[in-house]
Amino acid sequence: MSTGLKGWKDIPIGGMILEAGNSAEYETGGWRTFRPVMDKEKCKNCLFCWIYCPDSAIQVENEKIKEIDLKYCKGCGICAAECPAKAIEMVEEGKL
């Protein structure tokens, strides 16, 4: 989340945004009502969840799924719907 609103003296001239991709500071994970829970044993690392994630929330390391970044995951469930191995389950937040 933002650290609060800045005054005009704090904002760069022209309202420039100085860092590319700084929306990463804005965590959209709070939108989520269902959380994707991955069963690593079932996962075959086909990376379909990664290529189909609208929120760049699936982290891949060395060609393998590392984790689902809950900071950005909005809980749409496309990963669970498209997973050929049925390794992802959508669980309601608060019922974990």
Partner: protein
């Protein structure tokens, strides 16, 4: 042709934290395009969901240079940037051995309707750019108003289904055909469910000099009144029903990139979307038939044309 494993090693150029809806098709399309294009691109975007949600001040989700000027001039903007780039290169102010690519983006509102003249101008002048339309079939950003990409019979807030009209009463515009009439070197239709095909098309388009065009279907569950997790399955069905055929036209020659083994009836795709719900009432059956006939006609013409254009 990159595999998913190879693609996964590339840098993620669309940062998370953008404010597009959960389950949005547009961001899937953009992520796949940027993965194929790489970092040496400049992007312009017309006003629309994608633009407003990825550039809310003081944030930006773009890790590549990104321009937004207005609704109608995404193509004109990127053409201007490209022209200046070529000039600076000629003047020796920019390195000659480095190749920067230019991508214009727009939704169907910003491409089929409001930005059509600037796109047409850019294509005709022959700038070296790729224009990508993510087609979700209505003005979703402002609350689902009909556009010229909205299919016949679809309910939107400005073509509401009720006693007076059964949803939109006009056919959708075939933009890919209109773009083809500009005689550009490369144009194609793609879908995010077939990432391999989309990836290949972006790579191919960017390797060709001159104006290129890609029309990509981008399901919108708010406007289509479908499930939040159905963006990929609906784009697949759109292709399997031949509502959205995957084809490319390179130097005037058509290639169909995917032919469904069992072409599914259009209703398979439509019944999952609330915007078509009213069409399943007995009094609207003729609209369903009309839609199916239109799709069959277009698909058969594509098949025939491909056959004719086959090299001997």
């Amino acid at each position: 042709m990159a595999t998913l494993k190879e693609l996964s090693k590339r840098e993620e150029l669309l940062a998370g934290g953008h404010r597009l809806c959960a389950g949005c098709g547009a961001s899937i399309v953009v992520r796949q395009i940027l993965l194929a294009a790489g970092k040496n691109v400049v992007v312009s975007c017309s006003t629309g969901c994608l633009e407003v949600a990825t550039s809310i001040y003081p944030y930006t989700s773009w890790r590549v240079p990104f321009f937004h000027s207005a609704f109608e001039n995404s193509a004109a903007t990127i053409c201007g940037v490209e022209a200046m780039y070529q000039l600076q290169k000629r003047k020796g102010k920019l390195p000659v051995d480095e190749e920067i690519k230019f991508i214009g983006l727009g939704g169907d509102g910003g491409t089929y309707d409001i930005g059509l003249q600037s796109l047409s101008g850019g294509l005709e002048r022959g700038h070296d750019f790729l224009f990508v339309c993510y087609d979700n079939g209505a003005y979703m950003n402002t609350g689902i108003q009909r556009s010229s990409a909205t299919p016949l019979g679809a309910a939107t807030t400005t073509s509401p289904a009720g006693k007076v009209i059964p949803g939109k009463t006009q056919y959708r515009k075939d933009l890919t055909d209109i773009v083809e009439a500009h005689h550009i070197p490369y144009l194609a239709q793609a879908s995010p469910h077939n990432w391999k095909d989309l990836n290949k098309k972006v790579e191919k388009a960017l390797s060709i000099r001159g104006p290129k065009f890609l029309n990509v279907i981008a399901p919108c569950h708010r406007g289509w009144r479908s499930g939040i997790n159905e963006a990929i399955s609906l784009s697949k069905l759109a292709v399997d029903t031949c509502f959205w055929p995957l084809y490319e036209i390179e130097n005037g020659k058509l290639t169909i990139n995917y032919k469904p083994k069992n072409k599914k009836p259009l209703t398979e795709w439509m019944k999952l979307q609330g915007r078509f719900k009213h069409l399943f009432k007995p009094e609207n059956e003729h609209i369903l038939q009309q839609l199916q006939q239109g799709i069959d006609c277009k698909w058969n013409n594509l098949l025939k044309r491909e056959e004719v254009e086959k090299p001997c």
